[in-house]
């Protein structure tokens, strides 16, 4: 349970980090919070020749909120996102969801952008990015800067489009349009464990309380976070049925596929109701 030998680079600037990735991309891994990478190294599930430690890139340790939404730099810890009141006020779903990421001690070190790039299908923040139609800013010497929409960013379990020579610099979580309520809830075996099923919802209403849009996103229910539009359903139970029918979860040691779908139905109905009630007149 000790990591294999590795060459270490600790760049002080983003430019230097990007240059190192251009030079060593194919055989290097970026080390940010390390809360997923280091366990994999300890268990020797991965053995990159080099680590590029971005923990000195203080220029990326930010959570910024403007009228449009929240920008999270690559070195912002989950705990920074959780604590940023301005971010919560603009995009409440960020705090609602990040609170369920592992335990506080893990959130103190793990980064939100790192979690996106890691693309674990059971992780919360990729689903939040997907539900909000967010973006990730990538940078490399080869391609310069490019912005990838959430819908294109996650390609499979533990796989994002971030290339070996690219550094994920920032994630952008847009503020939901109009009068939108959001909610996050999940069920796990123990507090802080990966959820057997997790759901995030966003419900938009007009002045009179009529629902103009309702969406749900799921974790632990498929290879990538899947956003399902449930606008127009007769009620929240029907909307939850509609969503659960479109999910294709797998059995594993923690829960059967059927139980996961059951959880999705129950949690989605509750979550949509809560999101609606947060903004209903």
């Amino acid at each position: 349970m000790k990591p294999p030998p590795v060459m270490y680079h600790g760049p002080d600037t983003v430019d230097e980090a990007v240059r190192l990735l251009a030079e060593h991309g194919g055989q290097a891994k970026v080390l940010a919070g390390g809360q997923s990478l280091v366990p994999m190294l300890n268990m020797r599930l991965t053995a990159p020749a080099r680590l590029i430690d971005v923990n000195r890139l203080d220029e990326l340790a930010y959570v910024r909120t403007d009228l449009e939404g929240v920008r999270v730099g690559a070195l912002a810890r989950h705990a920074d996102v959780e604590r940023a009141t301005h971010a919560f006020e603009a995009v409440p779903l960020l705090r609602q969801a990040v609170r369920t990421v592992a335990h506080p001690t893990i959130r103190n070190r793990g980064t939100t952008v790192g979690s996106l790039v890691h693309a674990d299908p059971c992780a919360e923040m990729p689903a939040v990015l997907a539900l909000l139609d967010g973006e990730v800013l990538l940078r490399s010497e080869r391609a310069g800067e490019r912005v990838v929409k959430a819908a294109d960013f996650f390609v499979g379990p533990m796989e994002s489009v971030c290339q070996e020579d690219e550094l994920a610099v920032e994630a952008y979580f847009p503020k939901p349009k109009g009068r939108t309520g959001t909610d996050w809830r999940e069920m796990s075996r123990r507090t802080g464990d990966y959820a057997m099923c997790g759901v995030g919802t966003a419900v938009r209403v007009d002045e009179s309380g009529g629902v103009t849009s309702a969406k749900a996103v799921f974790i632990g229910m498929g290879p990538v976070p899947s956003v399902i539009d449930v606008t127009g359903a007769a009620d929240w139970t029907a909307a939850a049925e509609h969503a659960a029918d479109r999910l294709d979860p797998e059995d594993d040691i923690h829960a059967s596929a059927e139980y996961r779908r059951h959880l999705a139905r129950i949690l989605t109905a509750r979550s949509l109701k809560a999101a609606y009630e947060a903004v209903a007149p």
Partner: protein, 166 residues
């Protein structure tokens, strides 16, 4: 292949410590093997059990999920640093003793550091908050009842010690 060694300087429990270590040396192993501070315990070595929790610049982190080379220039507090300045038991340690918050003691260092940091931010937790605060630390002996009691007692002791003396 001989591994490249990195020079690191880390303030550990207020004392500047230096080391020459390979990049893959985990912070937990640096503390235990290079510095001889064996109070920090390694349980699972993949971030689940919480036994190795130390404070990095005052904030709890898993020392098994961090490389010592990443801690260069930072301040680390281990369980050895959770005592009072005179060397007496710190409030959390005192509370664990009073409430029988430990049995075999293996997980205790992680609990002590986690709770010490928690009480700095939340000086008066409810029982429910105390449970939440220790949610990331596993204990296989106690059943947690006495640890939860120790969190609440530690908060009391801390307040008593910090209250201005008449």
């Amino acid at each position: 292949m001989s591994e490249h060694l990195h020079q690191v300087t880390v303030s550990v429990n207020g004392v500047t410590r230096r080391g020459e270590i390979p990049a893959r040396r985990l912070l937990a192993d640096f503390l235990r093997m290079d510095l001889g501070l064996t109070g920090t315990h390694l349980g699972c070595e993949h971030g689940v059990c919480g036994a190795c929790t130390v404070l990095l610049d005052g904030v709890p982190v898993r020392s098994c999920l961090m490389f010592a080379v990443s801690a260069d220039g930072h301040a680390v507090t281990t369980v050895e640093g959770c005592c009072d300045p005179g060397g007496e038991l710190g409030p959390v340690q005192q509370a664990f003793q009073e409430c029988h918050g430990l049995q075999c003691g293996f997980c205790t260092p992680g609990f002590i550091t986690t709770i010490a940091a928690y009480l700095e931010e939340n000086p008066k937790p409810t029982e429910e908050e105390a449970r939440e605060a220790i949610g990331g630390n596993l204990c296989r002996c106690t059943g947690y009842q006495n640890i939860v009691a120790a969190v609440l007692r530690a908060a009391e002791i801390k307040r008593e010690r910090e209250a201005p003396h008449e």
